[in-house]
Amino acid sequence: MLNNQSVAEEIVKKFGDDVYDFEEPFGLLTLTTTREQIIPMLEYLKNHSEFKIGFLTDITGVHFPDTTPATEYCVVYHLHSFIHNFRVRIKVFLAEADLHIPTASEVYASANWMERETFDFFGIIFDGHPNLIRILNMEEMDYHPMRREYPLEDATREDKIDALFGR
């Protein structure tokens, strides 16, 4: 069985200063890396003789408009090792001015649609993706709806006062 400590130490040994912000929310090893290192890291974890973290559970995006400009967008990768039943979460923060990150679809075939979904909702551009077009929303849409600046309801409505609804 793998534990968070040993895996984290191995990753630090390999990637040095490019990995930081280690956390364990609810026991799940979480770490942050740079976009230059994300694909090498996915490959390293997949091909590591002991870890064999070879299943991509999920890719998604998060938007943090209230933080520093360099960390406004986050791409979150969830990985899983079936052999050791070990999960790891990798985050890559991006600046709004430069929303580019290399694609993982070469490493995992499943990344194709997950990245298209993330692009569709957050406008994060996955460089090298074979077919980076919208997937769930219509082609004509000219914005990325999951960004925080798009409210769900029309903010100018006056007949619904937030205070009355406990909001």
């Binding site: 998060v62 938007h63 969830h78 079936f82 995992y108 406990g166």
Partner: protein, 410 residues
């Protein structure tokens, strides 16, 4: 031969008296968006060479309802109704998965009895899900009878849901912190009746299909995928197990007391349509086993956790006691803030690992909620699985993948 080459050959200038040479033409076939065989609204643009599929491309998103965006504006308990509408063939699993995610964030420990009731409901939902998938696979291969035999028992399961929560399809069952009501005598009677009357009918269904020459000819070796490709494509659940990988969230990361039960994980070998059918077939028996054990060992005790801030108080209490009234009001108006945290929780849905990735910033609603929908992830393998086969094989392949449009599009 590529499409461009063929087009060039076909459009050569005609010389008088020279016979026209027809090279095999490629046809584009739209399978969907509303084709009866797609069992949902999604389009497949297939490029056909005669009856052979040489390329396929999917268009999805026809029933996208922006659940993730809506969830950012809703208090936690109101999100349950969104999860219903994802995999609507097994909505209790989605509901419970969501409740467990929130409970993990809040740190609420659910009593054993509630956990067992949840297991019963989730396994009933799994049976209903697999009944539909296997029954419809029969329909798609031309055998309608078997489907009608077992479809009646899906109704019986829905009656049990009705007894538990009053709803049938979009169940909204359970609450954060437990179940909204205990198993009633009538519900137990209905479950017991189901446990005794369903197996003989299901055995009849098995006799119709499992070794049926025509059915095997249509499904063995059709739409096969190797274990390696299946893992690369993010397959989970019965579809991955049919390819030979014994990954099941119920065993790997037990939730809701699954570790208390004795059950087997059926695994296929070839990853083809027949193996997917057989894995689901055996899972129905294993689910029945789990339900039997859960009913037999059903612990005594409360059916909800002592978490007044999150679990709606009983209605009669609301009319009598001040505290209950206050909590009732606060919960209904969504005035209770959740702790800050980041949770990933996965349950074994009807189609595979159904994950909830929840980021809470300490407010009344999630900061970000992402659903890992198994259908969405494995459906992208469909073109690879049906290229080279005929259109009739493509139909049964899709049917056996059990793609649910609601889950696909969220």
């Amino acid at each position: 031969m590529t499409e461009a080459n063929i087009a060039k050959k076909n459009s050569g200038t005609l010389v008088k008296d020279e016979p026209v040479q027809y090279v095999n033409e490629l046809t584009t076939l739209n399978l969907g968006p509303t084709h009866p065989a797609t069992h949902g609204i999604f389009q497949n643009v297939l490029t056909m060479d005669g009856e052979k599929i040489i390329a396929g491309e999917q268009t999805v998103g026809y029933i996208h309802r922006a659940f993730e965006k809506i969830a950012e504006r809703r208090p936690f308990y109101q999100i349950t109704t969104l999860t219903d509408r994802m995999n609507y063939c097994s909505s209790p699993i989605n509901n419970m998965g969501w409740h467990m995610t929130v409970e993990k964030l809040l740190g609420v420990e659910v009593p054993k009895r509630a956990q067992y009731i949840r297991v019963i409901m989730m396994e009933l939902a799994r049976i209903a899900d697999h009944i539909i998938c296997n029954g419809i696979l029969g329909v798609d291969t031309g055998a309608f009878t078997g489907f009608l035999y077992i479809y009646e028992y899906r109704e019986k399961i829905y009656e049990i849901y009705e007894e538990m929560c009053g709803a049938r399809l979009t169940t909204n069952m359970g609450r954060v912190g437990g179940m909204e009501r205990d198993l009633s005598k009538e519900a137990i009677r209905k479950i017991n009746e189901f446990l005794t009357t369903f197996p003989p009918i299901y055995r009849e269904f098995q006799r119709l299909f499992n070794r049926n020459r025509i059915f095997m000819d249509r499904t063995v070796g059709v739409g096969a995928i190797s274990a390696e490709r299946a893992m690369s494509y993010g397959f989970t659940g019965p579809n991955l197990r049919a390819a030979g990988v014994d990954y099941d969230v119920r065993v790997m990361n037990p939730y809701s007391s699954y570790e208390d039960f004795e059950f087997d994980i059926p695994v296929g070998q070839h990853g083809d349509t027949y193996d997917r059918f057989m894995v689901r077939d055996e899972e129905i028996w294993q689910s029945l086993r789990i339900i039997e054990q859960a009913l037999k060992n059903l612990p005594e005790g409360p059916h909800y956790a002592d978490a007044p801030e999150y679990y709606l108080p009983p209605k009669q209490e609301v009319y009598r006691s001040m505290e209950a009234l206050i909590y009732h009001f606060k919960i209904v108006m969504g005035e209770i803030d959740a702790p800050v945290g980041e949770v990933y929780h996965a349950v074994e849905g009807g189609n595979g690992e159904l994950g909830f990735y929840l980021i809470s910033d300490g407010g009344r609603t999630p900061y970000r909620l992402h659903f890992r929908r198994p259908c969405f992830i494995y459906y992208q393998a469909y073109p690879e699985m049906c290229v080279g086969s005929t259109i009739s094989d493509a139909i049964v392949t899709m049917s056996s993948l059990n793609v649910i449009a609601g889950e696909l599009d969220a």
